[in-house]
Amino acid sequence: MGIRIQREVFDIGQLTRSLHANNPQVGAVVNFVGYVRDINNARKVDSLFLEHYPGMTEKSLQTIVDKANDLWPLQAVDIVHRIGRLAIADPIVFVGVASQHRQAAFDACAFIMDFLKTHAPFWKREDTNAGPRWVDARDSDRVAASRWV
């Protein structure tokens, strides 16, 4: 349980198991895993680089987790976000939520991802066949986050 920013790949199975290990109250675990896609905005992507704001990143994710805990009865929340250079098909982010019942876990996982995408200070830069480019924020992500307000 917790918040980790790391370069290394993570083990989805081990993270999922640890969300309910030693806690028989947990009846539901919902995970989200984001991966690097090979095509974005009609360009072939060769690799991805993730920059962040050390210090603020951890604080902003903790604020999002605190809000989720206020809104739903959760047993555990785990966030792992990778930084640095990532290859196509690499996992980027893991968000896991454990609760007694499934609806709280589904909703809290979606809430955390929507706010992570719009409030946590990470930036993606793609290496494409036409050179490097910073990824633009999507309006659909902003709209997704606004549905919780």
């Binding site: 704001y53 990470f122 910073w134 633009d136």
Partner: protein, 83 residues
């Protein structure tokens, strides 16, 4: 003295990761700091003048009208794209 950080595309376009600035009486808010930096002209005006610019005060997202105090840490960056 205040610390100003720039991230991602802004850092590359400004060719600067961060700087220190003396906090003069005329700098009351983050917006005042932004206007002072934009007055450098050129890329400073273009980048910090972007309508969807985001900012943080002491590592928390905030609006441009937030007051600034001595030893504060400010950051300017483009909309975030993690996840």
């Amino acid at each position: 003295m205040i610390l100003i950080n720039y991230f991602a595309r802004y850092r590359e376009q400004l060719n600067l990761g961060g700087e220190k600035l003396a906090l003069t009486p005329s700098l009351k808010s983050i917006e005042d700091v932004r206007q002072l930096l934009m007055a450098r002209g050129g890329v400073w005006q273009d980048v910090l003048g972007e309508s969807n610019l985001m900012c943080a005060l002491n590592q928390e997202l905030c609006r441009l009208d937030r007051p600034v105090e001595n030893f504060d840490e400010i950051a300017f960056f483009p909309p975030v794209t993690g996840g």
